[in-house]
Symmetry: C2
Amino acid sequence: MERFRAQKSDAMEKFRQAVNSGRVDEGILPLLEFINSLPKFYSTSSCSGRVTLLHDVDSKPDNSWLGKWHRQVQVDEVLKAMIDPPERGVVLFKYESAILHLVAREPEGAKKLLVIARESGYKRVGIQGLREGRYMVEICDTERIDVPVIEKGKVLVDEEYLKHLVKLANKKFRKGVGKLERLENNLRDNLGM
Amino acid sequence: MERFRAQKSDAMEKFRQAVNSGRVDEGILPLLEFINSLPKFYSTSSCSGRVTLLHDVDSKPDNSWLGKWHRQVQVDEVLKAMIDPPERGVVLFKYESAILHLVAREPEGAKKLLVIARESGYKRVGIQGLREGRYMVEICDTERIDVPVIEKGKVLVDEEYLKHLVKLANKKFRKGVGKLERLENNLRDNLGM
């Protein structure tokens, strides 16, 4: 189990740095703190869900964001972020649900995470690898919005439609927060000591 | 290994029925036939990717489709499917990339599937459970379109925008077909006997 301990120690150092510099979403912090308090588990990169304007130039390293919000958004701030439409590629208005990466020391722990995550309503849940001391479970969901709103400098949608998108994204965001709470409660109930 | 054999036998009966009644996408059939020819693997529910108009009434069992195409689409057929906008809920224009469920008899086989799928470009790949004789690997991707086009009987987007969506969906569809071919080749190269 030396690998688990060493890797958890590394991950915890990165986690502390991320927390201290405000790079961990507040909405997910209590859940991650709980997981990391357990001797046989820890968290790696995780996100509580977000609304973004992704500038997609068909080459992932060159993609960037016109806006990124780990919370509900307002139409005005989305419009403001779109004010200078990029000439190249496509801009997508996106809602992405939470994604969590949790590592279990043993296969039994990974199995428990699978069951708890599915019972909490997450649809895409799987173990990413079967290395001893590192059973990485990815937990995510199918709730999404991916709408092209700008193409080659041209805005494709009007303000009224953007209002619909924002309303829908905020609704999904609230639903996502509820699901995360359910997950946190179920983890505490089933993994707590 | 009795469980594996019995479950494969059941799955193969269902697979044959699905093939015979045309319910298996042609694009994915050679890949599934290959997997099922291997003694230590078989396939369960899988889809080669699809473009749909989903009528979402916020209750999954009551959701339905105004249109569903396991191929590239034309603007006219999408418009035709939207001709009678439902009064309740939302209609989403969606592109969903391929999703495969492959069962390995042993953990080593499941690990191989994980590696091959990731090397073929799939982003969401995980083992769904760790039951002896049934290591189910889910392979899917993050390429998606999810655009609300009708809400409570009202069409939210114009024809020009729908043309953009169709173009984008067809581009993603072609990309998805290429990725499936890569997966099939890599599976044949690495699991073939």
